[in-house]
Symmetry: D2
């Protein structure tokens, strides 16, 4: 399978550069009969968009989705669904210097080394603009998961630099610019981000993603494990440097008697496993935590080399996010949803005859 494609049975192929004519995707293998309209993409694209607050890049893209194929009279037909978004606010002149210089911490140097040629405008293919199409594609996956299985996939920001939520209230996450679960902390975050932006520096973030109501049995051992594919999916997002399932790195210091999630007829008594055992869902909530590095595009000067190998000082003047993690919640949700739907189809393929197996333990504890 080509490297710009994702998923085994529900396959999403994305294309497009940050400042090219358009970005788009082809969704193949989608079940027929799902109702979908171009308008339904707007909500999640808006959640991911830049320019909504002063805390993100000031690029303003309409992100209007055109459905080119695969939908007839408002329903998917089982043939490939092509989605297209024209780029409208690409200001390539901001990037004149990048043509000549390799920004530290960016893919500039590695694309150059790999291909011997690169599109430097806005980072070209390595830009996070590509993730727009993941979010778009996942709108269909989320809808199918919700309608067919009652699954809800939600993400929130769980850390910005040193700041962590002091409380958790899922209902406020969508009401602030930070996807933050503690409304009381929002003013503090505003101040922090304002100061950060003025300093010209950036900071990292953590995103937590949870999927509820995933039935037991999804996931394929050994190399198609649900957690393995989630790890790949999250790590494929720009700026991600770490992925945890369930207790994650905290498992290292746990004792086995603490970590193992005991179970009874009422359900599991804890969820350190993050809802996955042996690569297969247990019926508990699937939980995943993702580390985003700080943006490398800074107004602060940095040392680098240019395409002639000369040492130079670089300053990035384009529009950038001081904390890329802030817009990453819908992207992490998208990757979780795409992985789950793909695994759901694969499970149905191999085990469609198995039916519901007893005993079925409720996935009580998140």
């Amino acid at each position: 399978m080509a490297s710009n494609s994702f998923g085994k049975l529900l396959t999403v192929t994305t294309f497009g550069e940050s400042h090219g004519a358009a970005i788009g995707c082809v969704i193949d293998g989608c079940p027929p009969g799902i109702a979908i309209t171009a308008e339904e993409f707007a909500h999640d694209l808006q959640r991911r968009a830049t320019g909504k607050s002063r805390h993100t890049s000031q690029r303003h893209e309409a992100d209007e989705v055109e459905i080119l194929s695969g939908v007839y009279e408002g329903r998917t037909t089982g043939t490939p669904i092509a989605l297209l978004i024209r780029n409208t606010d690409a200001r390539s002149k901001d990037y004149d210097k990048i043509v000549e210089q390799f920004r530290p911490g960016h893919a500039d140097y590695t694309y150059w080394q790999k291909y011997g040629i690169r599109d430097p405008r806005g980072g070209g293919r390595s830009s996070a603009r590509e993730t727009t199409m993941r979010v778009a594609a996942a709108v269909i996956a989320k809808k199918w998961l919700a309608e067919k299985h009652g699954i809800r996939v939600r993400a929130h920001v769980a850390q910005i630099g040193e700041i962590r939520p002091r409380s958790f209230d899922a209902s406020v996450v969508e009401d602030n610019a930070f996807f933050w679960p503690d409304a009381a902390q929002v003013p503090e975050l505003e101040s922090f981000m304002d100061a950060l932006r003025k300093s010209g520096d950036s900071v990292g973030a953590r995103i937590d993603v949870v999927a509820d109501n995933v039935p037991p049995g999804w996931g394929e051992p050994i190399y198609g494990k649900l957690d393995g594919e989630l790890a790949a999916a999250m790590m494929s997002i720009n700026a991600v440097k770490g992925v945890e399932i369930g207790a994650g790195f905290a498992s290292i210091t746990q004792k086995g008697s603490e970590h193992r999630d005991e179970l009874g007829r009422d359900g599991f008594r804890s969820n350190h496993a993050g809802g996955i055992l042996g690569g297969i869902s247990s019926g508990q909530a699937i939980t995943c935590s993702v580390a985003f590095k700080p943006t490398s595009s800074l107004r602060l000067p940095g040392h680098t080399v240019d395409v002639e190998g000369r040492e130079v000082e670089v300053v990035t003047t384009g529009r950038h996010d001081p904390c890329v993690g802030l817009r990453a919640a819908p992207i992490c949700e998208a990757m979780m949803a795409l992985v789950l739907m793909d695994q759901a189809l694969r499970h149905r393929a191999q085990c469609g005859d198995v039916g519901e197996v007893s005993p079925r333990i409720p996935g009580a504890v998140q």
Copy 2:
């Protein structure tokens, strides 16, 4: 691609259950002409084996590799290489209870829910015995990477429970039972593990893996990123709950001005990226850190249910590792090596005409 296969061009397919007749693998897509003998598998298999010290499971397997195909007069021919290891020390009677009960923290329940049938002997397919074949397959990958590119892949244990190395000396890692880089701490670890084993409990561990001399340009954006595939590879190992590339979760609290690895003609000035930018190797060392959960098979009783849905108390009496991470160093190396060789072949396929690109920055800092 089937889920018991790994890799796109260098494809390893494994088979076998813990207490079945045999375990084995088929390595497809291997370049021809690589010298290999059955004896060369012994070293790494021995490093991974149980029963070498009192700190691991007491199962004693000869792990003798038979090369069934793909090698002629001591050289690979380009056709599939099948490797076979007969199981010789399987004591299935130890697992009588497991037939009826779902061990907490194990794949017992999830395999049952997925397939409606499972081989309970020694954990069946979900046993870490499967990783033997990953290590075997990677012997060929390591050899090719070393001979063709001068690449060395090494792993060590970087944390056991709360204990971390106080110093780092690569030369002592292979001289103790813990793959530990600080020889002075070995007695402390001996005591810790003895006490743990006697308590009937278990603990987690962290493994650090490093590959040196990887040339720039390996890795395929977007969904075939080198870090994405490493994440999937590591997360596919039994008991893994977290994966970091480079600075990993520490990136969250870093400032961009600290995290971005500046570069000069002499090389990069730091390696927070872990040698990967935009999913493509930069020429620096590839660094990866992996979290292993504590073993769930404990002599300490735990709450669970049986196949009839009754609540029962479970005690696991088989032979188990009090810290699975202790034997994981060669497994992590294996997965890193397999990912790298696969990406090397893929890079050659697409970019074989590109040749060496200027400027080439030395990957000075690990």
Copy 3:
């Protein structure tokens, strides 16, 4: 890999319906640095187009290609190349009846049975309009094969109904509306086709495809054989019912002493193998012959059922080709070129170290 994608390393994903907004494709895995402009697609698309003569469907499509991504300053960058063609001459009202009736010999009934929903306008996804994008994608493949390896892929019509060429002159193939290698027969074909069109009936055709200068060694045993993939590629074209490599079905009556292509230092003495032995190219010309069935869309009434299961008489009134094979030469060339380039990249991946092997026998005889 998804079913609307083709090729393992050079992967082409197509999308679009006959009367939808647009058709398009994404070409992934293409080597960087290939010079390409939107204008270069025109020639082959024109060769494949309808409406050029009275002997094909009278649909007139501009077939203007927009390059959406993957090309920067006139060269491929190694990132996915998306091509888009808007549909401009779709007259769906011609197909009103098809909504209700299953045309015999068409995919109407099978799409309906598979998906429970179908886009009936112009045959939707099952229309040969999809092959436009194969031809477009192959323009890049043909260019790479020619520039890098001197390979030329050519096809001609080798049979229309009972009529076969009486002589072979490659230089006249592109000069007549029938891709016919015997200029003297063209008037006869004109009369035949005029009479056929007036009768409301249709007829089948044979296309021969040849690739010259393919080096020995391309093709992967066992299930990735060059001939196996050519067979799949050709059979995936609309209306194809048979594929032969080399002597094809004539091999059945041949003796081994006749069929086996003897070789000497000057080259092979015959080419019954069609340039492929054991699934691997021998250095001789790759030859393939493809059978196209007669179009099933006829003005002559036929028996069928409607969506309610009632028996009805169907007459197809849309614009159709009385002999689809007539426009199939560039499509067959396209599939041959895509298979060859994909195999070339795969060969380089696995056997890039092998270099040129002695003795190299010239592929003298076509």
Copy 4:
């Protein structure tokens, strides 16, 4: 996917050389719960075996299957099923000359050119011995298709050289050494084959394969078409040079009014399509015809070159089939069964919600 693997969801990976230690396969993605024993492989392996009559190669292999994994208490568990057959009657000394010489019509030269190294013993990997494992793997597929869908896959020899069946009686096919459907012709075939064998020459054959009771809806447009995958599957069998679906090459001279299979409430009125329209099964019998070339291993001397490039005369003295097609019926059945089961699982994955669609037309005519 690796090239020694076949199938997308039901994936069969084969390994082994003709005169190596063993041949084997790994079947991945198989549904759980299928009853299977080692004994069940014997019947089809025996049908394919050499040495049963004087008309095939005199190599005598026990072909005893050992199930290494994936089956527990007589049922498949959903984990990979590894099958192993030890080679017992390999006489490599017969092939001394082949080490130095390239047999015309064989893969000797192409393997050498591709890999720069080859296992010459008995043809190594390019030997038809590999097909043993296809037949073994398909035993499970045939059982599943029969039990779950009532599908029966049968093949017979439909032509040997110039000889074609004068009548068709399915019930006699298994009663003669030629898989021949006309018992009265068997003496004629005996004489023909005896004369052929004595002459030292060989001849080609045609195999017809039919699958009954395939439900409508299997097959994935565009590049995963059922007929496209059948073509690839058949062409991947050693010595195959042509594949037809339904009317095949005869479609060329058919009129559309003849070829299109009209349909009524009682069913289709003909089956020129071979049960496939638009790449999707129609509910009629799937019919396929396959051309096998004459064996190239002859006692009759032939011209060739040796590894030093010298022109030499070659005589093949090993044990060979004067007509390889004679044992190909079970192999063709195997490939048809594997394709069908794989497509069945894929159809269930994408369209598992669609259910039975009206109107369902009986597939009356074969």
